[in-house]
Amino acid sequence: MSDQLKDKHQRRERRTVKVPSDGSHGVRVKEATIRKNTEREIIVSSMDELGHHDENTRMVVTMENTYQTAPHKRFPVPAVTHILKDVLSSYLQQEKYEVEWSQKMTKTICEVIRARVKDLMIPRYKIVVLVHIGQQAGQSMQMSSRCLWDATTDSFACYSFTNSSLFGVATVYGVYFE
């Protein structure tokens, strides 16, 4: 609706711009009154424009109003867990922990998981992927996370993989963009 209003203002502005050029050819008296009207119109439209301008810049940056209150398709936890299992097993199955390799592998796995979750094409969901790879050295470790979100629309999936020399944990959080 505000788009229509903006169009109206643009049209009005266009008219005001045209009239002076036409007015220069016309009668003088008329020209004066026309000019007055156009000036007034310009002022009015520019004032409105100021009011709308901020909204318009905001609308350009943020998403348009879709009148959608809930996601059509929710975050598919089982499908994502399956992806995590797949990726972690295939990359880490027979590997030994090495510093350089693990560093690269953590980043690679992260990118791969993100690409595959994006391929699921879940609209309006933002994705956060976390991957930890560590050496198995008899140490103890605890990981926990808390989230402040809308429990009806947002969710997470996680999977952990271990072999004799290393362990890998992958977590994916899906957050709905309202």
């Binding site: 930890h132 470790m141 990981m143 926990s144 989230c147």
Partner: protein, 114 residues
């Protein structure tokens, strides 16, 4: 015009989040040694405190806070994260903390609403 727009909501302030998180970690495990029986309580407490402090900022964000506490035995640990979001409004911050007997890595992800 861009400055005006950003000044209103702003992107996620990761320095402020860093400070909040560091403070929370210090308060919970400041002078402690790694203890298997207590570590569960510690991670839960760190995460909850961070979350409540972040929420107090009053910004329109959803938060995800993750904490990993690991005993120091010379073992290596690598962490990576990859995010699909709006880079102008969303952000994250990771804090690494250690003492004599353990490592603590806390990550905060802030996802903007609307």
């Amino acid at each position: 015009m861009d400055e005006y727009h950003n000044g209103n909501e702003g992107s996620f302030n990761s320095e402020e989040a860093d400070n909040i998180v560091k403070e929370c970690i210090e308060n919970v495990v400041g002078g402690e040694d790694y203890s298997q029986s207590q570590v569960n309580k510690w991670t839960a407490s760190i995460v909850e405190r961070c979350l409540t402090q972040l929420v107090k900022q009053g910004k329109p964000y959803k938060f995800i806070v993750t904490c990993a506490v690991m005993q120091k035995t010379g073992a290596g640990l690598h962490t990576a994260n990859s995010c699909y979001w709006d880079t102008s409004m969303d952000g994250s911050s990771t804090v690494r903390w250690e003492n004599r007997t353990m490592y603590c890595v806390v990550s905060v992800f802030a996802v903007a609403i609307a």
